[in-house]
């Protein structure tokens, strides 16, 4: 399984989450973070803002679903058709084991899609 960590603009976070829900990947955790990127933050006259607020979304998916989820995230996180500086980044890392605490089970199968609704 793979962990997908996405850093997005705070105003885009609900679009991205709704997009993931529609794509059949409801499970996600959201953390407020601050950071800067390659552009070294925002400069207004002499003042540099290098702790720009963003939201980090993280979700764990099966290996085969990775490209699909990433495409759905990019589609919703972009500003305009071409995208702008500050739209964010997506990082993918390996997850060896996943456990559901309520059942104590180790999940070997892909995280199941939402039931009903």
């Amino acid at each position: 399984m793979l962990m997908i960590r996405t850093i997005v603009r705070p105003e885009k976070v609900y679009d991205v989450m709704q997009g993931m829900l529609d794509a059949g990947f409801p499970a996600v955790t959201k953390i407020a973070v601050v950071g800067r990127g390659k552009q070294r933050g925002l400069q207004v006259a002499d003042v540099v803002y290098d702790e720009i607020p963003k939201e980090m979304l993280f979700t764990v998916v099966a290996d085969i679903d990775k490209d699909f989820v990433i495409r759905s995230i990019i589609e919703n996180a972009k500003s305009g058709a071409d995208g702008k500086f500050g739209d964010g980044k997506i990082f993918v890392s390996a997850v060896e084991e996943v456990y559901t605490i309520s059942t104590g089970e180790r999940e070997t199968d892909p995280l199941l899609p939402a039931k009903g609704v």
Partner: protein, 125 residues
Amino acid sequence: MKEIIAVIRMNKVNATKKALIDAGIPAFTATGRVMGRGKGQVHSDILRGAEAGHPEAIAQLGGAPRLVAKRILTVVVPDELCKMAIDTIIATNQTGNHGDGKIFVTPIIETVRVRTGESGDVALN
């Protein structure tokens, strides 16, 4: 080395910290409140009501699963302690209901202790 990322209920954090100390794993990092949702499972009665077309049931479901507040504990342990740490977290947090949380285990390539600069498993002890 393994990184254990546990998304758990907010009111279980203190109990989990105690249990991990008793198990010999004192070091951890925790976030403040994080918001999230799981598979979006809802009560079966409400689902049945919505299928039958009751307006109150449909109103309760809403468009998307609600976000629930959780906290994340991150523990980095040597490989041999990994199984024990996971069992401890599951034993402390399990209530048997949906929303108890998830545990993710990811590999860590290197750990460096900032104070001395030493790296590897030594830096974890």
